[in-house]
């Protein structure tokens, strides 16, 4: 079974267990906790410190993209509007120069 299907199966059983507790008034806390442990196992906090920081990666990627795009336009890339910026990217993708 794919990860997505396993996740959906846990989610369905988790919701059923919570609703079952309310509707049938029975204790299903053990089952609920089992599913919660699974959801927690998927938790992967992003790192915002050091050289591999997500913040630095976002900045680096934008700078890199700007440098690449500078070669294809006479205008300053960072001064382009959002609409112009993405229009330029899709134009270059169509021309297969990116």
């Amino acid at each position: 079974m794919s990860d997505e299907k396993i996740y959906q199966a846990h989610l369905k059983k988790y919701c059923n267990a919570i609703l079952g507790e309310i509707i049938d008034d029975v204790d299903r806390s053990e089952e609920i906790q089992r599913h919660e442990r699974y959801f927690v196992s998927l938790l992967k906090p992003k790192d915002f410190t050091g050289q591999q920081s997500v913040e630095l990666k976002v900045e680096r990627d934008f700078e890199r993209l700007s440098i690449i795009l500078e070669k294809h336009t006479t205008r300053e890339v960072k001064k382009l509007t959002v609409k112009e910026f993405y229009a330029l990217i899709s134009h270059l993708k169509e021309k297969k120069t990116l």
Binding site: L43, E59, V82, K83
Partner: protein, 141 residues
């Protein structure tokens, strides 16, 4: 662009991708990312970080717990340096204040804009409402 009036003062804010410079857009998104992951106030020490940390330790996820502690430390330094990323995200969208166009969107420049907006008399709640509106519209466009 939208003009917001407060007493004698006016603030013009970008509200459309047709006029928003892409540099501001990336800064705006970066601060939103920081806000959603690290948080921007002391309350989030508990609601965001300590709760997750507790769960990660309970589940023997050592490496993830270390990352969470590092992020908690990052939020701590942000807070003591008065860096509120949620406010900084909004200031990335400010075009001009009382007709003066904003030119400096560096972190110190954004802090200066934030302070100026604060002096004009915008409360934290008003800014939150405006920011929520721009978050929603930027995700729709």
């Amino acid at each position: 662009m939208e003009t917001i009036k407060k007493g004698q003062h006016t603030i013009t804010v970008y509200d459309d991708p047709e006029c928003l410079p892409v540099d501001n857009y990336y800064r705006f998104n970066k601060y939103l990312l920081l806000d959603s992951s690290l948080g921007s106030s002391l309350e989030e020490f508990s609601t965001k970080h300590l709760n997750s940390l507790y769960v990660l330790i309970q589940n023997d996820k050592k490496q993830e717990a270390i990352t969470q502690v590092n992020n908690l430390r990052q939020l701590f330094f942000q807070t003591i340096n008065e860096v509120n990323v949620s406010q900084l995200a909004f200031t990335c969208l400010v075009h001009s204040i009382d007709g003066r166009k904003v030119e400096d969107y560096s972190e110190s420049g954004l802090k200066a804009i934030r302070d100026e907006i604060g002096k004009i008399g915008f409360t934290q709640d008003e800014l939150k409402k405006k920011q929520l509106k721009y978050r929603l519209t930027s995700s729709l466009k």
